[in-house]
Subunit: 517 residues, 2 copies
């Protein structure tokens, strides 16, 4: 059991006590060498989706003479889930799959060429740090489907991470929380834990209060992933003036603040709240669109055209979002829940955030509307052959976390449909029992009665009705979840004898008249 | 009883039958003359807030040689409420109060100089028209406070307006609906009524279907009122191709489409939906902010700073709105209700628009939160002397329609407070029994224990704490509803012994520490 298996199948044995002792010596030696080169030491806690890339961005920062500012120890745990990342990173490889070509360049560059990033499992690294960047994953748990008000946040792994830090760091070390946390976490969780550990170590916390700051990333999956960390505006805050200044100094070196200025908020509650509000704003605006999509469908209106017409009002209406299969990804599905949970759990407030939570409920259940559209044509789905095209949560990314395709798949399974699943980017669907996702569109469409364009991957744009319909055998029902099929193509599908429906696309009824001409 | 009284007190007797006969002759004569000058005839139906100004904009349109394109008959009814507008307009005066200096120029220009606008009460005008622009006021009625789901739209005056049109117009006349209407109105209300009247007149509606189009204004009250009609992007649609083309031609002449292109939607349902969605989007985004404001207040956060920090994300987050005393004005308070009502009343849909309606409920009751803030300091408001500064619904406009100050006033009255009301722009508060609003801030603040900065009029920016507190006698409770008082001023108020609270301003608690130093 003491092995960790990488996604590509390579196995890595957990370190032995001997290796642990050697690792400490290595950490000491490397750190000494790096300090002699004038570099400060950064530990990034958590080599996940954000942390590993943040570690490379920090390790990549250099002055105008090309001298790196920092040496980075990337830390993760000795666990089956995580340990493999350490040898993989130290081999100059990325532990994450991403569409950004920069990912496969930056890891070898900082690990092999610049030698400014090294991953480790050993907590000893924390003792050596000037700055710690916390990128521990922190999930919201939603036990009841469609009832996000009962969602909560299990902070135990996060608390354990803070204890590790408190046990080890120098009192002069800055702890920069980058994880999206429930508002109040720095003040009510991070600070008391580190203070407690400091006191155990005999550190006078009135003279040496822990230095804690918060700054949230605005990472976007996709082809500009690395750039979305480095070249994007940042908000930050410190728990006190000294922490704020240290955070400002660190972020100014690591990020492109000339083009993307820092925004300092006056306390950690404020910047923690900013992050979850930022995403709750998006979640609410997507949710709003679903009810208007349903109405548009019924009154013969193409909601996407309506939205386009409104979005000409720049600065006041151009953030308007669109209905779709549903909302997935890591942030919009959980951040309103973190905020809502915090109101009661960390601040003991009576009033919580009903609108934000209601939006999550709408978004989490949105895929059921696509099933309703199907059932308008096939009231009984038993043994109906359905193809789901796209299982990631967004077009042209491979990320399946909280993808609405999962609910679509589950609901169709529940109704005894026979489902085949296609995605050009996703090989394995971890959230659905590590299902193997098919790559060959011909196999997937073969003998299919219902084709769901679930996610707008670019490669689906090439699918022509003249190709799809013969592959299916007889004309299938086509469902467009993301305004992905042009009116021209819809008319072609109709002419070929297909039924076509789309989320928010009430105008298809009128196209039928054209289609039949 | 047969008189109509203008807001300034002038009285106008209703027209006699003799005057009616003369008016018809006048209308014929003027129209003949104008046709000889090569001008088309436009009737604007409804000389209200939008219609009267739209009439001037149409009348002001001219070719590059300075020749007007249109002559406009502005029509309104012989009623106590409306008739006075006709002689007032024909005197070259504006029937509406507006902060826009252009208003007092454009009326004399088109009425007296260009002689391209004349108002009339006589329906005969419709017989002469090439284009009719419908600007009848159409309200949503919300019978239950805080329960907008029971809101409805009384279309009877609107239907009567359509019958008037159908009885009179040439079959070649374009009827352009500019009123914000429930989606479906053109197809399900306007068209059948005009068709019915056409049939009564023996017009073959298969050969001559009524020409109907829809194009909504995006009027903003304030100093650029006229410009917000003429120099702003427009969406439009026609009930058929011919109507669409006629609408495009008319709007292209009247509006500055070079800089503000027209946007054509494919049917009237779509553009009707666009208007109410546009405003529902805003209403929802204000409502969302209230729950976050309440949380921010409790956790020591200045929500306005947080919002500012998020709005740096241009194009994705910069439409974010702000909490305030509440939401007023003519559009955001009713448009979601029009849409929700239409779903059932015009389309017989089961599902309506719960999120948009919930937002209206939050917005309509938002002012109660300001009373809660007051009660945190004064649990008993009986005989407390309160000053409400600002009764319009928006800063620096005189418009009091659906102003949230009304609910504030009512709630404070209910709690037996002694209220004085100030506004630099509003003389009379029509919605509160034509209350005379005071202009002298000194009188209003005299002996006041609670000062509510309800609306952000610029002139209130000049009020210094050193001036306000002595006027009140002893240090009052200061309430800031619209992030109108700077931190510097708040600290001054605190130092002068005041308590200060503000919607969304949780950081005031921390300023108190600074204030007491």
């Amino acid at each position: 059991m003491s092995i960790s298996i990488a996604p590509d199948g390579r196995e890595f044995a957990f370190p032995t006590p001997e290796q642990n002792r050697e690792e400490i010596k290595k950490l000491q030696k490397i750190t000494e060498e790096q300090r002699k080169l004038g570099r400060k030491i950064v530990v990034v806690q958590g080599m996940g989706f954000v942390g590993s890339v943040m570690a490379t961005v920090v390790a990549d920062a250099e002055d105008k003479n090309g001298n790196p500012y920092y040496f980075v120890h990337g830390h993760d745990l000795v666990s089956r889930r995580s340990f493999w990342k350490i040898p993989v990173i130290n081999n100059g490889e990325s532990p994450i799959q991403a569409e950004d070509p920069e990912i496969s360049k930056i890891f070898p560059r900082v690990v092999k060429e610049k030698k400014t990033l090294r991953a480790t499992w050993n907590e000893f690294a924390y003792k050596l740090a000037d700055v710690i960047v916390v990128d521990i994953q922190l999930d919201a748990i939603k036990p009841d489907f469609g009832r996000a008000s009962t969602g909560y946040c299990n902070l135990s792994a996060f608390r354990e991470g803070m204890r590790t830090i408190g046990r080890s760091i120098s009192p002069e070390c800055l702890v920069l929380i980058e994880t999206t946390v429930p508002p109040g976490t720095c003040e009510k969780v991070v600070k008391p834990i580190i203070e407690k550990e400091f006191k155990k170590r005999g550190i006078d916390t009135t003279k040496n209060p822990p230095l804690i700051a918060h700054s949230y990333e605005r990472v976007m999956p996709g082809r500009n992933y690395v750039s979305s960390i480095r070249n994007f505006c940042r908000t930050f805050s410190g728990i006190d003036k000294k922490s704020e200044e240290l955070a400002r100094e660190f972020l100014s070196i690591v990020l492109d603040i000339q083009n993307h200025p820092l925004y300092c908020l006056e306390n950690t509650n404020a910047s923690e709240l900013a992050k979850v509000l930022e995403n709750s704003y998006r979640a609410t605006n997507i949710a709003l669109m679903l009810e208007w999509a349903k109405m548009a469908e019924k009154i013969g209106v193409n909601l996407f055209e309506v939205i386009k017409s409104i979005k000409v009002r720049k600065g006041t209406h151009d953030n308007m979002l669109k209905p779709s299969l549903g909302v997935g990804g890591y942030c919009l599905t959980k951040d309103p829940v973190l905020a809502n949970w915090s109101a009661e759990a960390l601040f003991d407030l009576d009033e919580k955030l009903p609108m934000a939570i209601h939006s999550v409920n709408i978004n989490d259940t949105m895929a059921l509307h696509t099933v309703e559209l199907i059932e308008e044509v096939f009231p009984n789905l038993t043994d109906k052959r359905v193809a789901i095209l796209g299982v990631s949560y967004l077009g042209d990314v491979a990320d399946t976390r909280h993808s609405p395709s999962k609910l679509l798949w589950e609901e169709l399974m529940e109704k005894d449909a026979v489902i085949s699943v296609h995605d050009p980017l996703v090989k394995i669907w971890p959230e659905v029992g590590n299902m193997r996702v098919k790559k060959d569109i011909k196999t997937v469409l073969s003998d299919t009665e219902i084709v769901i364009f679930a996610v707008g991957h670019k490669s689906y744009l090439d699918l022509e009705p003249e190709e799809v319909v013969p592959l299916c055998g007889k004309p299938p029902l086509i469902i467009d979840c993301s305004n992905f099929i042009s009116d021209k193509k819809i008319i072609k599908y109709l002419k070929l004898g297909c039924e076509v429906k789309g989320v928010g696309k009430g105008h298809i009824e009128r196209l039928k008249v054209k289609g039949k001409r």
